[in-house]
Protein backbone atom coordinates (compact mmCIF):
# COMPACT_ATOMS: atom_id res chain seq x y z
CA UNK A 1 0.00 0.00 0.00
CA UNK A 2 1.22 3.46 -0.86
CA UNK A 3 2.63 5.41 2.05
CA UNK A 4 1.98 8.80 0.46
CA UNK A 5 0.31 11.16 2.93
CA UNK A 6 -0.98 14.72 2.77
CA UNK A 7 1.92 15.86 4.93
CA UNK A 8 4.37 14.27 2.51
CA UNK A 9 2.73 16.05 -0.45
CA UNK A 10 2.79 19.38 1.40
CA UNK A 11 6.46 18.92 2.22
CA UNK A 12 7.39 18.19 -1.39
CA UNK A 13 5.39 21.22 -2.56
CA UNK A 14 7.21 23.46 -0.17
CA UNK A 15 10.76 22.06 -0.52
CA UNK A 16 10.96 20.97 -4.16
CA UNK A 17 8.55 23.42 -5.77
CA UNK A 18 8.61 26.43 -3.41
CA UNK A 19 4.89 26.85 -2.87
CA UNK A 20 2.44 25.90 -0.16
CA UNK A 21 -0.67 23.72 -0.36
CA UNK A 22 -3.92 23.94 1.57
CA UNK A 23 -4.88 20.81 3.52
CA UNK A 24 -7.87 20.04 1.31
CA UNK A 25 -5.79 20.34 -1.85
CA UNK A 26 -3.10 18.09 -0.41
CA UNK A 27 -5.73 15.49 0.54
CA UNK A 28 -7.16 15.38 -2.98
CA UNK A 29 -3.70 15.08 -4.51
CA UNK A 30 -2.84 12.28 -2.10
CA UNK A 31 -5.93 10.37 -3.15
CA UNK A 32 -4.93 10.76 -6.80
CA UNK A 33 -1.31 9.77 -6.21
CA UNK A 34 -1.78 6.66 -4.09
CA UNK A 35 -3.22 4.29 -6.76
CA UNK A 36 -0.61 5.45 -9.25
CA UNK A 37 2.15 4.85 -6.75
CA UNK A 38 0.84 1.34 -6.06
CA UNK A 39 0.56 0.52 -9.77
CA UNK A 40 4.03 1.94 -10.43
CA UNK A 41 5.50 -0.17 -7.65
CA UNK A 42 3.83 -3.29 -8.98
CA UNK A 43 4.97 -2.93 -12.58
CA UNK A 44 8.47 -1.68 -11.82
CA UNK A 45 9.59 -5.19 -10.95
CA UNK A 46 9.02 -6.27 -14.55
CA UNK A 47 11.53 -3.80 -15.99
CA UNK A 48 14.65 -5.47 -17.33
CA UNK A 49 18.08 -4.03 -16.66
CA UNK A 50 18.95 -2.83 -20.16
CA UNK A 51 15.68 -1.31 -21.37
CA UNK A 52 15.21 2.39 -22.07
CA UNK A 53 12.29 4.60 -23.20
CA UNK A 54 13.61 5.06 -26.76
CA UNK A 55 13.15 1.32 -27.40
CA UNK A 56 9.49 2.19 -27.84
CA UNK A 57 10.08 4.20 -31.05
CA UNK A 58 12.03 1.34 -32.58
CA UNK A 59 9.25 -1.11 -31.66
CA UNK A 60 6.60 1.16 -33.17
CA UNK A 61 8.34 1.04 -36.56
CA UNK A 62 9.22 -2.64 -36.30
CA UNK A 63 5.68 -3.73 -35.42
CA UNK A 64 4.05 -1.40 -37.93
CA UNK A 65 1.72 -2.43 -40.69
CA UNK A 66 3.32 -2.99 -44.07
CA UNK A 67 1.04 -0.52 -45.81
CA UNK A 68 3.18 2.49 -45.00
CA UNK A 69 6.50 1.00 -46.07
CA UNK A 70 7.96 2.08 -49.32
Amino acid sequence: MSGITSEFVKTIASIWHRFSLENEEADTLTNMLAPMDDAGEEVSSSIMFDLEPSDYNRALEELGDEEGLG
Binding site: I4, V9, I12, A13, W16, H17, R18, F19, E25, T28, L29, N31, M32, L33, P35, M36, D37, A39, G40, E42, V43, S44, S46, I47, L51, E52, P53, D55, Y56, N57, R58, A59, L60, E61, L63, G64, D65, E67, G68, L69, G70
Partner: protein, 471 residues
Protein backbone atom coordinates in the same frame (compact mmCIF):
# COMPACT_ATOMS: atom_id res chain seq x y z
CA UNK B 1 -30.90 26.53 -52.76
CA UNK B 2 -29.09 23.40 -51.76
CA UNK B 3 -27.39 23.57 -48.37
CA UNK B 4 -23.84 22.84 -49.43
CA UNK B 5 -22.68 22.87 -45.83
CA UNK B 6 -24.48 19.57 -45.30
CA UNK B 7 -22.31 17.82 -47.86
CA UNK B 8 -18.97 16.23 -47.08
CA UNK B 9 -15.52 17.44 -48.12
CA UNK B 10 -15.10 15.07 -51.04
CA UNK B 11 -18.42 16.01 -52.70
CA UNK B 12 -18.00 19.73 -51.97
CA UNK B 13 -14.48 19.73 -53.32
CA UNK B 14 -15.75 18.31 -56.63
CA UNK B 15 -18.29 21.15 -56.84
CA UNK B 16 -15.62 23.78 -56.17
CA UNK B 17 -13.22 22.28 -58.69
CA UNK B 18 -15.94 22.09 -61.37
CA UNK B 19 -16.84 25.74 -60.81
CA UNK B 20 -20.40 24.89 -59.75
CA UNK B 21 -19.73 26.42 -56.34
CA UNK B 22 -17.25 29.15 -55.46
CA UNK B 23 -14.98 29.01 -52.44
CA UNK B 24 -16.14 32.52 -51.55
CA UNK B 25 -19.81 31.53 -51.59
CA UNK B 26 -19.04 28.52 -49.45
CA UNK B 27 -16.96 30.49 -46.97
CA UNK B 28 -19.71 33.09 -46.56
CA UNK B 29 -22.20 30.33 -45.79
CA UNK B 30 -19.81 28.82 -43.28
CA UNK B 31 -19.27 32.17 -41.55
CA UNK B 32 -23.04 32.81 -41.42
CA UNK B 33 -23.55 29.40 -39.79
CA UNK B 34 -20.77 30.04 -37.29
CA UNK B 35 -22.27 33.39 -36.28
CA UNK B 36 -25.80 32.03 -36.09
CA UNK B 37 -24.82 29.18 -33.76
CA UNK B 38 -22.11 30.80 -31.66
CA UNK B 39 -24.40 31.93 -28.85
CA UNK B 40 -26.01 28.50 -28.60
CA UNK B 41 -22.97 26.25 -29.00
CA UNK B 42 -19.93 28.47 -28.29
CA UNK B 43 -17.67 26.46 -30.57
CA UNK B 44 -15.38 29.31 -31.67
CA UNK B 45 -12.83 31.23 -29.62
CA UNK B 46 -11.95 33.42 -32.60
CA UNK B 47 -13.57 33.80 -36.01
CA UNK B 48 -11.34 35.24 -38.75
CA UNK B 49 -13.91 36.29 -41.31
CA UNK B 50 -11.91 38.73 -43.41
CA UNK B 51 -8.83 36.54 -43.68
CA UNK B 52 -10.93 33.52 -44.61
CA UNK B 53 -12.84 35.40 -47.30
CA UNK B 54 -9.63 36.85 -48.71
CA UNK B 55 -8.10 33.36 -48.93
CA UNK B 56 -11.28 32.02 -50.55
CA UNK B 57 -11.18 34.73 -53.22
CA UNK B 58 -7.58 33.79 -53.99
CA UNK B 59 -8.59 30.15 -54.49
CA UNK B 60 -11.43 31.21 -56.79
CA UNK B 61 -9.05 33.34 -58.85
CA UNK B 62 -6.62 30.48 -59.23
CA UNK B 63 -9.40 28.18 -60.32
CA UNK B 64 -10.64 30.68 -62.88
CA UNK B 65 -7.12 30.90 -64.28
CA UNK B 66 -6.98 27.12 -64.49
CA UNK B 67 -4.10 26.91 -62.02
CA UNK B 68 -3.57 23.74 -60.01
CA UNK B 69 -5.02 23.70 -56.52
CA UNK B 70 -4.74 21.15 -53.72
CA UNK B 71 -7.09 18.41 -52.59
CA UNK B 72 -8.77 20.68 -50.03
CA UNK B 73 -9.10 23.79 -52.20
CA UNK B 74 -11.73 26.19 -50.93
CA UNK B 75 -12.89 23.96 -48.07
CA UNK B 76 -13.63 25.91 -44.86
CA UNK B 77 -11.98 24.33 -41.83
CA UNK B 78 -11.33 25.59 -38.30
CA UNK B 79 -9.07 24.09 -35.67
CA UNK B 80 -8.68 23.58 -31.96
CA UNK B 81 -7.07 26.80 -30.77
CA UNK B 82 -3.67 25.26 -30.02
CA UNK B 83 -2.04 25.05 -33.45
CA UNK B 84 0.40 27.93 -33.65
CA UNK B 85 0.37 30.46 -36.48
CA UNK B 86 3.20 32.91 -36.79
CA UNK B 87 2.25 36.25 -35.25
CA UNK B 88 -1.34 35.23 -34.51
CA UNK B 89 -2.91 34.69 -31.11
CA UNK B 90 -3.32 31.06 -30.06
CA UNK B 91 -5.05 30.90 -26.68
CA UNK B 92 -4.73 27.16 -25.96
CA UNK B 93 -8.12 27.65 -24.27
CA UNK B 94 -6.35 29.35 -21.39
CA UNK B 95 -6.17 32.65 -19.60
CA UNK B 96 -2.40 32.33 -19.30
CA UNK B 97 -1.93 32.22 -23.09
CA UNK B 98 -4.80 34.55 -23.96
CA UNK B 99 -2.38 36.99 -25.64
CA UNK B 100 0.23 34.52 -26.83
CA UNK B 101 1.26 35.05 -30.44
CA UNK B 102 2.71 32.05 -32.25
CA UNK B 103 6.46 32.20 -32.90
CA UNK B 104 6.09 29.68 -35.73
CA UNK B 105 3.38 28.15 -37.88
CA UNK B 106 2.58 24.55 -37.12
CA UNK B 107 3.53 22.09 -39.83
CA UNK B 108 0.01 20.67 -40.05
CA UNK B 109 -1.52 24.11 -40.68
CA UNK B 110 1.12 24.87 -43.33
CA UNK B 111 0.32 21.60 -45.07
CA UNK B 112 -3.43 22.26 -44.96
CA UNK B 113 -2.93 25.74 -46.38
CA UNK B 114 -0.77 24.35 -49.17
CA UNK B 115 -3.60 21.93 -50.00
CA UNK B 116 -5.92 24.93 -50.38
CA UNK B 117 -7.90 24.57 -47.14
CA UNK B 118 -9.32 27.73 -45.58
CA UNK B 119 -8.83 28.68 -41.93
CA UNK B 120 -11.97 30.09 -40.35
CA UNK B 121 -10.78 30.47 -36.79
CA UNK B 122 -9.65 28.97 -33.49
CA UNK B 123 -12.07 26.55 -31.87
CA UNK B 124 -13.04 26.20 -28.24
CA UNK B 125 -11.26 23.50 -26.24
CA UNK B 126 -10.61 22.35 -22.72
CA UNK B 127 -8.04 24.60 -21.08
CA UNK B 128 -4.56 23.49 -22.16
CA UNK B 129 -6.17 20.40 -23.73
CA UNK B 130 -6.79 18.87 -20.30
CA UNK B 131 -10.14 17.20 -19.71
CA UNK B 132 -12.60 14.95 -21.55
CA UNK B 133 -15.71 17.05 -20.86
CA UNK B 134 -15.65 20.21 -22.99
CA UNK B 135 -16.07 22.81 -20.28
CA UNK B 136 -13.90 25.91 -20.18
CA UNK B 137 -13.91 28.42 -17.33
CA UNK B 138 -12.20 31.13 -19.40
CA UNK B 139 -14.03 31.07 -22.75
CA UNK B 140 -17.29 29.51 -21.63
CA UNK B 141 -18.49 25.93 -21.92
CA UNK B 142 -19.03 24.43 -25.33
CA UNK B 143 -22.41 22.71 -25.90
CA UNK B 144 -23.43 19.51 -27.63
CA UNK B 145 -25.31 20.27 -30.86
CA UNK B 146 -27.65 17.29 -30.30
CA UNK B 147 -28.78 18.58 -26.90
CA UNK B 148 -27.33 21.69 -25.31
CA UNK B 149 -27.78 20.42 -21.77
CA UNK B 150 -25.17 17.80 -22.55
CA UNK B 151 -21.41 18.02 -22.87
CA UNK B 152 -19.73 17.81 -26.28
CA UNK B 153 -16.70 15.94 -24.91
CA UNK B 154 -13.16 17.21 -24.79
CA UNK B 155 -10.63 18.31 -25.04
CA UNK B 156 -11.24 19.06 -28.75
CA UNK B 157 -14.77 20.20 -27.87
CA UNK B 158 -15.15 23.00 -30.44
CA UNK B 159 -13.80 20.73 -33.16
CA UNK B 160 -16.51 18.13 -32.53
CA UNK B 161 -19.23 20.76 -32.26
CA UNK B 162 -18.25 22.83 -35.33
CA UNK B 163 -18.10 19.72 -37.54
CA UNK B 164 -21.31 18.15 -36.20
CA UNK B 165 -23.23 21.43 -36.57
CA UNK B 166 -22.22 21.62 -40.25
CA UNK B 167 -20.40 24.89 -39.61
CA UNK B 168 -17.08 23.68 -41.02
CA UNK B 169 -16.30 20.53 -42.99
CA UNK B 170 -13.49 19.37 -40.79
CA UNK B 171 -11.35 20.43 -37.87
CA UNK B 172 -8.07 19.39 -36.36
CA UNK B 173 -7.99 18.25 -32.79
CA UNK B 174 -5.31 16.86 -30.54
CA UNK B 175 -5.44 13.56 -28.67
CA UNK B 176 -3.29 12.68 -25.66
CA UNK B 177 -5.70 10.24 -24.00
CA UNK B 178 -8.85 10.48 -26.10
CA UNK B 179 -9.29 14.17 -26.90
CA UNK B 180 -10.12 13.60 -30.59
CA UNK B 181 -12.11 10.40 -30.15
CA UNK B 182 -14.23 11.47 -27.15
CA UNK B 183 -15.72 14.64 -28.71
CA UNK B 184 -16.09 12.77 -32.02
CA UNK B 185 -18.15 10.12 -30.24
CA UNK B 186 -20.20 12.57 -28.19
CA UNK B 187 -20.94 14.83 -31.17
CA UNK B 188 -21.59 12.08 -33.73
CA UNK B 189 -18.67 12.73 -36.09
CA UNK B 190 -15.64 10.78 -37.27
CA UNK B 191 -12.27 11.27 -35.58
CA UNK B 192 -8.91 9.62 -36.00
CA UNK B 193 -6.01 9.52 -33.59
CA UNK B 194 -3.13 8.47 -35.81
CA UNK B 195 -0.15 6.31 -34.84
CA UNK B 196 2.03 8.20 -32.36
CA UNK B 197 4.67 9.45 -34.84
CA UNK B 198 2.53 9.65 -37.98
CA UNK B 199 1.82 13.41 -37.80
CA UNK B 200 4.27 16.18 -36.92
CA UNK B 201 3.84 17.86 -33.56
CA UNK B 202 5.82 20.94 -34.60
CA UNK B 203 3.89 24.05 -33.61
CA UNK B 204 1.33 22.13 -31.57
CA UNK B 205 0.89 23.28 -27.97
CA UNK B 206 2.47 20.54 -25.88
CA UNK B 207 0.66 18.72 -23.12
CA UNK B 208 2.73 15.54 -23.16
CA UNK B 209 5.72 15.01 -25.47
CA UNK B 210 5.19 11.26 -25.41
CA UNK B 211 1.45 11.00 -26.05
CA UNK B 212 0.34 14.11 -28.00
CA UNK B 213 -1.07 13.44 -31.47
CA UNK B 214 -3.05 15.58 -33.85
CA UNK B 215 -5.65 14.40 -36.31
CA UNK B 216 -8.88 15.38 -38.05
CA UNK B 217 -12.53 15.33 -37.00
CA UNK B 218 -14.84 15.12 -40.01
CA UNK B 219 -18.31 13.94 -41.00
CA UNK B 220 -17.16 10.97 -43.05
CA UNK B 221 -14.33 8.46 -42.90
CA UNK B 222 -13.31 9.35 -46.44
CA UNK B 223 -12.96 13.02 -45.46
CA UNK B 224 -10.74 12.04 -42.54
CA UNK B 225 -8.63 9.97 -44.95
CA UNK B 226 -8.21 12.97 -47.21
CA UNK B 227 -7.13 15.31 -44.41
CA UNK B 228 -4.81 12.79 -42.79
CA UNK B 229 -3.12 12.21 -46.14
CA UNK B 230 -2.38 15.94 -46.31
CA UNK B 231 -1.02 16.37 -42.78
CA UNK B 232 0.82 13.05 -42.23
CA UNK B 233 4.44 12.32 -43.04
CA UNK B 234 7.92 13.11 -41.88
CA UNK B 235 8.71 16.66 -40.84
CA UNK B 236 12.34 17.74 -40.36
CA UNK B 237 11.06 20.13 -37.67
CA UNK B 238 9.83 17.19 -35.56
CA UNK B 239 12.62 14.67 -35.19
CA UNK B 240 10.24 12.12 -33.70
CA UNK B 241 8.00 12.04 -36.79
CA UNK B 242 8.13 8.80 -38.77
CA UNK B 243 9.92 8.61 -42.13
CA UNK B 244 7.47 6.04 -43.44
CA UNK B 245 5.78 6.77 -46.73
CA UNK B 246 2.21 8.05 -46.36
CA UNK B 247 -0.19 5.70 -48.15
CA UNK B 248 -3.03 6.99 -50.32
CA UNK B 249 -5.64 6.73 -47.60
CA UNK B 250 -8.55 7.60 -49.88
CA UNK B 251 -7.60 4.74 -52.18
CA UNK B 252 -7.52 2.50 -49.10
CA UNK B 253 -11.18 3.42 -48.47
CA UNK B 254 -12.15 1.74 -51.73
CA UNK B 255 -10.52 -1.61 -51.01
CA UNK B 256 -12.68 -4.59 -50.09
CA UNK B 257 -13.29 -5.53 -46.47
CA UNK B 258 -14.61 -9.04 -47.05
CA UNK B 259 -12.63 -11.60 -45.04
CA UNK B 260 -10.82 -8.98 -42.97
CA UNK B 261 -10.78 -10.02 -39.32
CA UNK B 262 -12.31 -7.81 -36.66
CA UNK B 263 -11.48 -8.64 -33.05
CA UNK B 264 -14.06 -8.24 -30.29
CA UNK B 265 -12.25 -7.93 -26.96
CA UNK B 266 -13.54 -10.50 -24.48
CA UNK B 267 -12.39 -8.35 -21.58
CA UNK B 268 -12.17 -4.70 -20.47
CA UNK B 269 -13.60 -2.64 -23.38
CA UNK B 270 -17.20 -3.90 -23.11
CA UNK B 271 -17.43 -3.68 -19.30
CA UNK B 272 -20.10 -1.44 -17.77
CA UNK B 273 -21.63 -0.15 -21.01
CA UNK B 274 -24.79 1.92 -20.99
CA UNK B 275 -27.68 -0.08 -22.43
CA UNK B 276 -27.91 2.07 -25.56
CA UNK B 277 -24.19 1.81 -26.27
CA UNK B 278 -24.30 -1.96 -25.79
CA UNK B 279 -27.23 -2.29 -28.21
CA UNK B 280 -25.65 -0.07 -30.87
CA UNK B 281 -22.34 -1.95 -30.69
CA UNK B 282 -24.21 -5.25 -31.19
CA UNK B 283 -25.91 -3.72 -34.25
CA UNK B 284 -22.49 -2.59 -35.52
CA UNK B 285 -21.15 -6.11 -35.25
CA UNK B 286 -24.08 -7.38 -37.34
CA UNK B 287 -23.40 -4.78 -40.01
CA UNK B 288 -19.76 -5.81 -40.28
CA UNK B 289 -20.83 -9.45 -40.46
CA UNK B 290 -23.12 -8.47 -43.33
CA UNK B 291 -20.07 -7.03 -45.06
CA UNK B 292 -18.46 -10.49 -44.76
CA UNK B 293 -15.97 -9.28 -42.18
CA UNK B 294 -14.91 -12.16 -39.97
CA UNK B 295 -15.64 -11.52 -36.29
CA UNK B 296 -13.27 -13.13 -33.78
CA UNK B 297 -13.10 -12.99 -30.01
CA UNK B 298 -9.79 -11.71 -28.64
CA UNK B 299 -8.39 -11.54 -25.11
CA UNK B 300 -6.61 -8.22 -24.64
CA UNK B 301 -3.82 -7.69 -22.09
CA UNK B 302 -4.91 -6.14 -18.79
CA UNK B 303 -5.37 -2.39 -18.94
CA UNK B 304 -5.46 -1.69 -15.22
CA UNK B 305 -1.80 -0.81 -14.95
CA UNK B 306 -1.61 0.79 -18.38
CA UNK B 307 -4.21 3.37 -17.37
CA UNK B 308 -2.42 4.31 -14.20
CA UNK B 309 1.08 4.49 -15.59
CA UNK B 310 -0.19 6.50 -18.57
CA UNK B 311 -1.62 9.01 -16.09
CA UNK B 312 1.65 9.10 -14.15
CA UNK B 313 3.73 9.76 -17.26
CA UNK B 314 1.31 12.33 -18.65
CA UNK B 315 1.22 14.23 -15.37
CA UNK B 316 5.00 14.21 -15.11
CA UNK B 317 5.38 15.75 -18.57
CA UNK B 318 2.49 18.21 -18.19
CA UNK B 319 3.68 19.40 -14.79
CA UNK B 320 7.20 19.90 -16.15
CA UNK B 321 5.78 22.10 -18.93
CA UNK B 322 3.53 24.01 -16.52
CA UNK B 323 5.69 24.11 -13.37
CA UNK B 324 6.60 27.79 -13.56
CA UNK B 325 2.99 28.88 -14.09
CA UNK B 326 1.71 26.49 -11.41
CA UNK B 327 3.97 28.27 -8.96
CA UNK B 328 3.59 31.86 -10.20
CA UNK B 329 0.04 31.95 -11.57
CA UNK B 330 -1.91 29.15 -9.88
CA UNK B 331 -5.14 31.16 -9.80
CA UNK B 332 -5.11 31.58 -13.56
CA UNK B 333 -5.93 27.90 -14.06
CA UNK B 334 -9.39 26.36 -13.80
CA UNK B 335 -9.58 24.12 -10.72
CA UNK B 336 -9.97 20.81 -12.55
CA UNK B 337 -7.15 21.53 -14.97
CA UNK B 338 -4.76 22.67 -12.25
CA UNK B 339 -5.40 19.58 -10.19
CA UNK B 340 -4.89 17.20 -13.10
CA UNK B 341 -1.61 18.80 -14.10
CA UNK B 342 -0.07 19.47 -10.72
CA UNK B 343 -0.07 15.97 -9.30
CA UNK B 344 2.85 15.21 -11.59
CA UNK B 345 4.96 17.38 -9.31
CA UNK B 346 4.81 14.80 -6.54
CA UNK B 347 6.12 11.72 -8.27
CA UNK B 348 9.75 10.62 -8.37
CA UNK B 349 11.53 10.76 -11.74
CA UNK B 350 11.99 6.99 -11.55
CA UNK B 351 8.22 6.43 -11.72
CA UNK B 352 8.00 8.56 -14.85
CA UNK B 353 10.89 6.79 -16.56
CA UNK B 354 9.55 3.39 -15.61
CA UNK B 355 6.21 4.29 -17.22
CA UNK B 356 7.96 5.23 -20.46
CA UNK B 357 10.33 2.26 -20.38
CA UNK B 358 7.44 -0.19 -20.06
CA UNK B 359 5.72 1.22 -23.14
CA UNK B 360 7.71 -0.98 -25.52
CA UNK B 361 6.94 -4.12 -23.55
CA UNK B 362 3.21 -3.42 -23.49
CA UNK B 363 3.15 -2.53 -27.18
CA UNK B 364 4.87 -5.79 -28.14
CA UNK B 365 2.53 -7.78 -25.91
CA UNK B 366 -0.48 -6.09 -27.49
CA UNK B 367 0.68 -6.70 -31.05
CA UNK B 368 1.57 -10.33 -30.26
CA UNK B 369 -1.66 -11.24 -28.51
CA UNK B 370 -4.16 -9.05 -30.35
CA UNK B 371 -3.03 -8.22 -33.87
CA UNK B 372 -1.81 -11.73 -34.59
CA UNK B 373 -5.50 -12.70 -34.45
CA UNK B 374 -7.22 -9.79 -36.17
CA UNK B 375 -6.73 -6.79 -38.46
CA UNK B 376 -8.38 -4.42 -36.02
CA UNK B 377 -10.22 -4.34 -32.71
CA UNK B 378 -13.84 -3.18 -32.55
CA UNK B 379 -14.72 -1.47 -29.27
CA UNK B 380 -17.11 1.23 -28.07
CA UNK B 381 -15.29 4.57 -28.17
CA UNK B 382 -16.93 5.41 -24.86
CA UNK B 383 -19.02 3.35 -22.43
CA UNK B 384 -21.67 6.08 -22.26
CA UNK B 385 -23.30 8.75 -24.42
CA UNK B 386 -22.66 12.42 -23.61
CA UNK B 387 -23.55 13.16 -19.97
CA UNK B 388 -25.38 16.29 -18.81
CA UNK B 389 -23.24 19.14 -17.54
CA UNK B 390 -25.24 19.40 -14.37
CA UNK B 391 -24.51 15.78 -13.46
CA UNK B 392 -20.73 16.23 -13.57
CA UNK B 393 -18.09 17.41 -11.14
CA UNK B 394 -16.18 19.90 -13.29
CA UNK B 395 -14.75 21.74 -10.31
CA UNK B 396 -11.85 19.38 -9.63
CA UNK B 397 -13.49 17.84 -6.57
CA UNK B 398 -13.31 14.36 -5.08
CA UNK B 399 -15.23 12.60 -7.85
CA UNK B 400 -13.22 14.16 -10.67
CA UNK B 401 -10.55 11.44 -11.10
CA UNK B 402 -13.21 8.73 -11.33
CA UNK B 403 -15.20 10.73 -13.87
CA UNK B 404 -12.16 11.31 -16.08
CA UNK B 405 -11.24 7.64 -15.87
CA UNK B 406 -14.74 6.53 -16.84
CA UNK B 407 -15.03 8.85 -19.86
CA UNK B 408 -11.60 7.98 -21.22
CA UNK B 409 -11.37 4.32 -20.16
CA UNK B 410 -11.50 3.01 -23.73
CA UNK B 411 -9.29 5.65 -25.30
CA UNK B 412 -6.38 6.30 -22.94
CA UNK B 413 -4.76 2.83 -23.04
CA UNK B 414 -4.53 3.22 -26.82
CA UNK B 415 -2.75 6.55 -26.38
CA UNK B 416 -0.24 4.91 -24.05
CA UNK B 417 0.42 2.23 -26.67
CA UNK B 418 0.56 4.83 -29.46
CA UNK B 419 -1.75 2.84 -31.74
CA UNK B 420 -4.01 4.37 -34.38
CA UNK B 421 -7.72 4.49 -33.53
CA UNK B 422 -10.69 5.62 -35.61
CA UNK B 423 -13.97 6.64 -33.98
CA UNK B 424 -17.09 6.32 -36.14
CA UNK B 425 -20.67 7.25 -35.13
CA UNK B 426 -22.98 4.21 -34.99
CA UNK B 427 -26.42 5.47 -34.03
CA UNK B 428 -28.35 7.28 -31.35
CA UNK B 429 -29.46 6.41 -27.85
CA UNK B 430 -32.95 6.89 -26.47
CA UNK B 431 -32.23 10.53 -25.61
CA UNK B 432 -31.15 11.31 -29.17
CA UNK B 433 -27.46 11.43 -28.33
CA UNK B 434 -24.91 9.71 -30.56
CA UNK B 435 -22.74 6.70 -29.72
CA UNK B 436 -19.66 5.54 -31.57
CA UNK B 437 -17.40 2.58 -32.14
CA UNK B 438 -13.64 2.64 -32.16
CA UNK B 439 -11.44 0.66 -34.56
CA UNK B 440 -7.94 0.08 -33.21
CA UNK B 441 -5.11 -1.23 -35.36
CA UNK B 442 -1.42 -2.08 -35.17
CA UNK B 443 1.02 0.85 -35.71
CA UNK B 444 0.66 2.59 -39.09
CA UNK B 445 -2.48 0.67 -40.09
CA UNK B 446 -4.61 3.79 -40.57
CA UNK B 447 -5.44 2.65 -44.11
CA UNK B 448 -7.06 -0.55 -42.87
CA UNK B 449 -9.09 1.37 -40.29
CA UNK B 450 -10.29 3.77 -43.00
CA UNK B 451 -11.21 0.81 -45.20
CA UNK B 452 -13.37 -0.74 -42.47
CA UNK B 453 -14.87 2.58 -41.35
CA UNK B 454 -15.74 3.63 -44.89
CA UNK B 455 -17.34 0.26 -45.68
CA UNK B 456 -19.53 0.72 -42.60
CA UNK B 457 -20.58 4.24 -43.65
CA UNK B 458 -21.41 3.06 -47.17
CA UNK B 459 -24.17 0.83 -45.79
CA UNK B 460 -25.38 3.08 -42.94
CA UNK B 461 -26.68 6.61 -42.74
CA UNK B 462 -25.82 7.85 -39.24
CA UNK B 463 -23.22 10.26 -40.55
CA UNK B 464 -25.85 12.00 -42.68
CA UNK B 465 -28.16 12.71 -39.74
CA UNK B 466 -28.14 16.43 -38.94
CA UNK B 467 -28.75 17.97 -35.51
CA UNK B 468 -32.09 19.83 -35.22
CA UNK B 469 -30.28 23.01 -34.20
CA UNK B 470 -28.99 23.28 -37.78
CA UNK B 471 -32.32 22.78 -39.52
Amino acid sequence: MMDYLNLDICKTSDLVLSGELSATELTKASIDRAEALQQKLNSFISLEKDEALEAAEKIDKRLRKGEGVGSLAGIPLAHKDMFYRLGKITTCGSKIRSKFKGDRTSTVLSRLEKAGALYLGGLNMSEFAVGPIGNNVHYGDCFNPWNQEHTPGGSSSGSGVAVASRTVYGALGSDTGGSIRIPSAMCGVVGIKPTQTRVSRFGLMPLSFSFDCSGPLTRTVRDAARILHVIAGHDPEDSTSSRRKVPDYEAECDKKVAFMRLGIPSNYFYDDLETDVDRLLKDTRKIFKGLKVEIVSVDVPSHDHINLIWAAALAAEASTIHRKWLRDRPDDYGPMVKRRIEFGLYQPATRYLEALTLREKYLRAYCDTVFSKCDALLTPTMPVVAPRYKDLDVGGGESMPELVLMLSRNTRPISYLGLPALSVPCGFGAKGLPAAFQLIGRPFSEGKLFRLGNAYQEVTDWHNTIPKIVE
